[in-house]
Symmetry: C2
C-alpha cells in the first residue's frame, strides 16, 4: 500500500490550516505535528496533494514537495476557492467544564461564527476558560467543516465590561432561559431592517442573575429571545441559536 | 451540613425518571443507582422533596419517605405538571463512534424528539449501534432538560427496510449533504399545508451513496433540504435540523 502510494501520486482529502502566506510556488514548511499527521497518520507521499487555507488567501491545492524525518514542505499549485469575508455572528459564552466548552467551540465553528468570546458572569467560573486550547479546537473544526477561516478567539472578559464597551451597531441575540419571544419570530422581524453585524449570547449553567438579565435586556442593541420550553445545555443552545441565525440572516438561507 | 439537612427538609432540584405508575400516596421504591444518587451524591434526607416523571402521569413532587442502606422510597405528593403528548419528530441517524452518538442522543432529547431510530446505510458501520446504552443517555437528558417523557429508542434497522415500511403520512426531512433547497424555506412552505407527523434523517459520516440519495429523494414523503455550505458533523446536523423544525413547526414557535 505504501509502495503503491509512492508510485501513484494522489489527491487526498486532507485539509489543513496553515499560519503563513499562500501563493503559487511559495514553498511552505509545515510544523512538526502537521508533518507527522501527513506522513505517519495519513501516509501521504511526495507528489500527493492536499488542501490548505490560512484565512486570508482562500483555499489552495498544494503538493507535497518534501517529506523527510517529520518535516514536510508543500508547494501551492492552484487556488481552489477565493477567500470570502466571514459574515457569521460572534458567540459570547460562559465557559462550562472543558469537554463541553470544546464541543461548543467545535460546533460554533462548524456553524460559521466569526469570533468566540468567553465571558465571566455572576454564576460562572472564570478559571474554566482555556483560551489557549480553544484555538486548537477551532482550527481542527475549521479544517473539518470546509470553512476558509478560523474564528477569532477573544480573551476572557467580564460580561459587564464587554457590554459597556459594546459596538452599538452590533445587535446581540440574548438567549434568555427565563423566557422571551420565539427566536424565529424575533429574527424574522429584523430581516427587513437595516443589515448589520450580530452577536449571540448564551447563558452559563445556572443561568444569569436577575440583575444581569435586567442589565442585558435594557441595552439598546439587545434582542432577547426564548429557545423554547426545555432547558438546553450551553452547547446545545449555541448550536440551536446559531442554526436559526444562519437560517434567517446568514448562509443557511441560500441552500447549496 | 448533613445534620442541618436532616433537620430542615427541603425542596431539591433533583428530577428523576421512574419506570412505574405515579399517583398520590402510591409509594415508589427506587432502583439502587437512583437511591445512591439521592442519598450519597445529592445528600438528600427523608422529608426532602424532588421531581419525578414516568412519561405517562405528568411530573410530580414526591417526598423521600425512607432512605436506608441504599434503598430509597418516595411518596408522590402532588402533580406539578400534567402529561402532554410528545409532538416532536422522529430522528433517524446512522450511528457514528460512540461518544458522538451519545451526544446526538442527548441533544436530540433536549430538542424534543419523540423517537430515536438508528439506521444502517451503505457507508455506515452497524456494529457501532448500542441501543441498550442509548436509552440511559436519553433518560439522563430527559431528566436534565425538563421534558415529561423519554424518547422511544427503535431497534437498529437497515435504512432501505425502514423506508419500505414507512408510514406515508409522516414526512421525512432529508438533510442532504449533496445539496438542496434551504431548510427554513422548505419548512415554511409546509406550515400552511395539512399538519401531520414528521421525521428527520441525518446522513452518516461519509454521506449517503448516490443510489441511496436517489432512492430517498424520490419517496413521496421525502422533503430534501440543505443545511448550508459547511460540512456538519452528524450530531451538529441533528441539532441544527431539530432546532429549525421546532422553530417552524414545533414548540420553539411559542417562546416561553
Amino acid at each position: 500500500m505504501a509502495a503503491e502510494k509512492k508510485q501513484a501520486a494522489k489527491a487526498s482529502r486532507v485539509r489543513l490550516f496553515v499560519d503563513a502566506p499562500i501563493a503559487a510556488d511559495l514553498e511552505l514548511k509545515l510544523e512538526s505535528a502537521q508533518s507527522h499527521y501527513i506522513g505517519t497518520v495519513m501516509r501521504l507521499a511526495p507528489g500527493d496533494t492536499l488542501s490548505i487555507f490560512n484565512g486570508r488567501d482562500g483555499e489552495w491545492r498544494a503538493a507535497i514537495a518534501g517529506l523527510k524525518r517529520g518535516a514536510c514542505t508543500l508547494k501551492p499549485e492552484a487556488q481552489a476557492r477565493p477567500q470570502q469575508a466571514s459574515s457569521g455572528p460572534w458567540l459570547l459564552f460562559a465557559p462550562v467544564k472543558s469537554s463541553r466548552t470544546e464541543l461548543l467551540i467545535e460546533k460554533a465553528t462548524e456553524l460559521g461564527v466569526s469570533a468566540l468570546w468567553p465571558v465571566t458572569t455572576q454564576y460562572s467560573q472564570s478559571k474554566l476558560a482555556k483560551p489557549e486550547r480553544y484555538r486548537a479546537h477551532a482550527v481542527e473544526a475549521a479544517e473539518q467543516c470546509g470553512r476558509l477561516d478560523v474564528p477569532k478567539i477573544q480573551p476572557l472578559a467580564a460580561l459587564t465590561a464587554v457590554l459597556e464597551e459594546w459596538p452599538t451597531d452590533r445587535r446581540l441575540l440574548f438567549c434568555d432561559e427565563a423566557g422571551g419571544p420565539p427566536v424565529l419570530e424575533a429574527l424574522e422581524a429584523l430581516v427587513a431592517g437595516p443589515p448589520g453585524p450580530w452577536a449571540i449570547l448564551i447563558g452559563p449553567e445556572g443561568g444569569f442573575s436577575a440583575e444581569e438579565r435586567a442589565d442585558i435586556r435594557t441595552r439598546r442593541f439587545s434582542v432577547p429571545v426564548s429557545l423554547g420550553p426545555r432547558t438546553l445545555r450551553a452547547e446545545t443552545a449555541a448550536v440551536a441559536a446559531l442554526s436559526l441565525w444562519q437560517a434567517v440572516l446568514g448562509d443557511l438561507r441560500l441552500g447549496n
